[in-house]
Symmetry: C3
Subunit: 151 residues, 3 copies
């Protein structure tokens, strides 16, 4: 089954790939490695989410934001190479806009990790790391940095 | 001398490689590059350390936690490929759970950097970076993200 | 035009490459990928800048610090391989020492991104990400982590 067919099956509609600011790129490819720009959830229930985990948002909401960040990443891949060109999800790094007391960063990033499994199956298995950022641009709650391997 | 013999000489006993949560991998290999999941000190004097540098913990204690995070990374490498397969330590990135006033992040990460030199000699020389995280999962004091080159 | 000639044209004078502490390297090269150690602005108007964005420093000052961090990175590349060996700027990751309320991390990192465009032209286009660190070593305001592709 193609990845596009899988997305339809999962009910995932990719947005238009978000544009990076003028001075940088959505991705850079070196041989088979694809380094993707950090992406956040641009829209949730009609609004851009703004706030911190452990303050304005719960872990469950953060999970949704991480999933949406993953969908933004998929949109970038689809626009650039087509999702069927992905050989492997290599690495995810999650930046969680969090309070000093927050301890569930991993449960937030699971939203992006589980999306990758749903979409890519075993190829979606990746190394990852996650940490609490004291603040993020535009007060976004979650940004995900990623590396992929292309065929 | 094999790296295993070196570990014996250094008195380092590797723990069982810690398991990642179900949805991701301890490492992903692309050609010769190995991207390893972020690892923290799982045990220190019989307990999982929890707290922030510059608050609950001193720089000297942080150095030990970074060293222990490095030992967790070595356990992952040993379980996956054997430590003699390592051609080079490429990159370490240290996430230090810290107070806003903390300024010795580099001295904390030295605990992991110096371990890599002890174990791998010149091949242990690596690029690195380090920063203060406002919080980390489970209130771990230190997590180390890493990239290795395999033979 | 060589990159060195371009630097002269831009009026950029590279400092001596800053030395890493004894235990790690300024860069590690794996095939064509160059992983560079995190670099900060070592001097601004005769002093080492110290403080946080959104507190001691404005976004405009942060932009200058990010540009200076980029110049430190260029100095490392020049000392190691010569700037004409650069095929592509692959990835920048900005650590911004920031207050919990700061929201302009991307505008700070632009200082480094725009430098790469000025110096390398289209080859300077890169993937990037940026976040707020609760604290950085020596209270530096900005550190930039980077990956380059060499010819």
């Amino acid at each position: 089954m193609s990845i596009e067919a899988r997305l339809v099956e999962l009910g995932i509609v990719l947005p238009k790939a978000s544009s990076p600011a003028a001075k940088y790129a959505n991705f850079v490819k070196v041989d088979k490695l694809l380094f993707v720009a950090g992406k956040g959830a641009s829209e949730f229930e009609g609004q851009t989410p703004k706030g911190k985990l452990g303050q304005e948002y719960t872990t469950k909401e953060g999970y949704q934001f991480a999933r949406l960040a993953g969908i933004e990443i998929l949109a970038v891949l689809q626009a650039g190479f087509g999702l069927d060109s992905v050989e492997r999800v290599v690495k995810l790094q999650g930046f969680i806009n969090a309070s000093p007391e927050f301890e569930e960063h991993h449960k937030v990033l699971d939203g992006c990790s589980e999306l990758m499994f749903e979409v890519f199956g075993e190829k979606g298995s990746h190394a990852r790391s996650v940490f609490g950022a004291v603040s993020l641009r535009d007060n976004l709650p979650v940004i995900v940095d990623s590396i992929f391997q292309l065929k």
